[in-house]
C-alpha cells in the first residue's frame, strides 16, 4: 500500500484582529507590538465620570493641551510590549549582575582611591531620589495620559527608573556601609547643592498635563542629567581616576539612556509634526523646563566636576538642544 503524504497550505482568512487591521490593513500580518498596542486604549462605556475629577472622563485625551487626532501616532520605535521589554531588561540585568560579580571577586572597590570613592557616593547616592521622582512622574504619565502607544512605554519607563534607583542603591552598598544611603538622603534633603534639583523634581510631581510632564521629566531633565552624570562625571572623570569599577556598576544607565532617547524623541517628533500649535506648545515646554533643569543641575555639576562642571553641563544642554532640533521641534 502506498501512503502519499502531501503538504497542504492553509492560508488564514484574516491576518489580525479587526481593530488592529484598522491601522495596518488586512493584507499584512501584524507584529506582536502592533497587536499589543493598537486599539488597546479603553475608549467607551464610561457611564460615570470619576468623582475625583468630574471635569474629565476616566480616560481623557483632553487632560493634555497637546491635541492629536489619533494618540496611536505616538508609536514606540523600540516596539516594546510587555514580553520583549522584560526579555531585554532581563538580558541587561544579567550583564549588570556579572559586572557586580566581577567587581566583587577582584576586590576592585578596594582599589578605588578613597577620595574618588567618596566623591562618587556624594554625587550618585542623592540621585536615587531623583530616579524615584522620575519613577513617580512616569507612572503619572501612564495613569493620566491617553493612548496605549504612549502610556504603556511610559509605564515601562517608570519601572526602568526604579531599576536605576535600585542599581544606585546596590552601588552604595558595594562601595560603602549602609549608612552611605542615609548620607545620600541627608544630602538630598539638606545640602544646598541639591535643593535646586530637589525642587525641580518636587515641582514636576504636581504637573497635571501628562505630555508636559513627559517633556519636563524625560526630555528636559533626564536629557541633561544622564549625559552630565554618567557621561562627563562617571566615564570621563571618575573612571580615569581609578574608579573603573564605578563605570562598570553604572553601565546600565548610559546604555538605557541612549535606548530610551529614541522613544522620547519619536514621541515628541510625532506630536509636534501633527500641528503647528502642538509644535509651539512643546517647544515652549522644552525651552522653559530645559532652562530650569540646567539651572537646577548647575550646582550639582560644580560639586561633581569642580570648575569643569559648568562646561560639562553646557555640553549636555547642547546635546539636548541638538536632539530637539533633530526632531524638528526647535528651529
Amino acid at each position: 500500500m502506498n501512503i502519499d503524504l502531501q503538504a497542504r497550505e492553509i492560508t488564514p482568512l484574516r491576518n489580525t484582529f479587526a481593530h488592529v487591521a484598522k491601522y495596518i490593513g488586512h493584507e499584512k500580518a501584524a507584529s506582536r507590538y502592533q497587536e499589543a498596542t493598537f486599539g488597546a486604549q479603553p475608549m467607551a462605556n464610561f457611564q460615570y465620570r470619576p468623582t475625583w475629577d468630574p471635569e474629565h472622563e476616566l480616560f481623557d485625551a483632553s487632560r493634555s493641551r497637546v491635541v492629536l487626532a489619533d494618540w496611536y501616532v505616538l508609536k514606540d520605535p523600540r516596539q516594546f510590549y510587555y514580553a520583549n521589554w522584560t526579555m531585554t531588561r532581563a538580558r541587561q540585568q544579567d550583564a549588570v549582575e556579572s559586572n557586580f560579580q566581577f567587581v566583587n571577586q577582584r576586590g576592585m572597590v578596594a582599589m578605588i582611591p578613597d577620595a574618588v570613592r567618596e566623591k562618587t557616593l556624594s554625587i550618585l547616592l542623592p540621585l536615587r531620589h531623583a530616579a524615584w521622582g522620575a519613577n513617580m512622574n512616569n507612572a503619572s504619565i501612564a495613569a493620566y495620559g491617553f493612548g496605549t502607544a504612549f502610556t504603556a512605554p511610559a509605564m515601562f519607563h517608570a519601572m526602568d527608573n526604579l531599576g536605576v534607583a535600585q542599581y544606585l542603591t546596590r552601588l552604595g552598598l558595594a562601595l560603602d556601609e549602609p549608612e552611605a544611603l542615609e548620607m545620600g538622603k541627608k544630602a538630598w534633603l539638606d545640602a544646598p547643592e541639591w535643593q535646586g534639583l530637589r525642587r525641580y523634581v518636587e515641582d514636576t510631581l504636581v504637573v497635571q498635563d501628562p505630555f508636559e510632564l513627559f517633556v519636563a521629566q524625560n526630555l528636559a531633565l533626564d536629557g541633561q542629567l544622564y549625559p552630565l552624570i554618567y557621561g562627563s562625571f562617571v566615564d570621563d572623570h571618575i573612571a580615569l581616576q581609578g574608579g573603573t569599577a564605578v563605570a562598570m556598576l553604572t553601565a546600565f544607565m548610559p546604555e538605557w539612556h541612549d535606548e530610551t532617547a529614541r522613544w522620547i524623541d519619536a514621541v515628541v517628533k510625532a506630536a509636534a509634526s501633527e500641528s503647528d500649535a502642538n509644535r509651539q506648545l512643546i517647544a515652549q515646554w522644552i525651552k522653559d523646563w530645559a532652562e530650569r533643569a540646567q539651572a537646577a543641575l548647575s550646582p550639582v555639576a560644580r560639586l561633581a566636576l569642580g570648575e569643569h562642571g559648568e562646561a560639562a553641563l553646557t555640553e549636555a544642554r547642547d546635546k539636548l538642544d541638538a536632539r530637539c532640533r533633530k526632531t524638528g521641534v526647535l528651529a
Binding site: 500580518a29 514606540d76 520605535p77 523600540r78 516596539q79 519619536a266
Partner: protein, 89 residues
Amino acid sequence: MSNVFIAFQDNEESRPVIEAIAADNTNAKVVHSPGMVKIDAPGRLTIKRETIEEITGRPYDLQAIHVNLVTLSGHIDEDDDQLTLSWKH
C-alpha cells in the same frame, strides 16, 4: 540570471529581517509557505543591519539571523553591517 534565495522560520524574530530585505531589495520575491518564509531574488540579495535596526528601533547583531535561518543559496559576502548573497565573485 539565476536566483539567490534565503529562507527563515516564520516567526516574530525573523519578521523585521524579512521586512528589511523586502525594503532593500526591490526585486526580491517574498513567499510565505507554512512555517517558513522564502525570499528569492535574481542574482543578488543584501541584508543590511542598519535597515533592521531602523525597523526594530534597537541595536541588532547581524549574526542573530542565523538563529532563525532555514537555508540559503548563493555566494556569501558578510561583515558586521551586511550580508550579501550573489552569484558573482
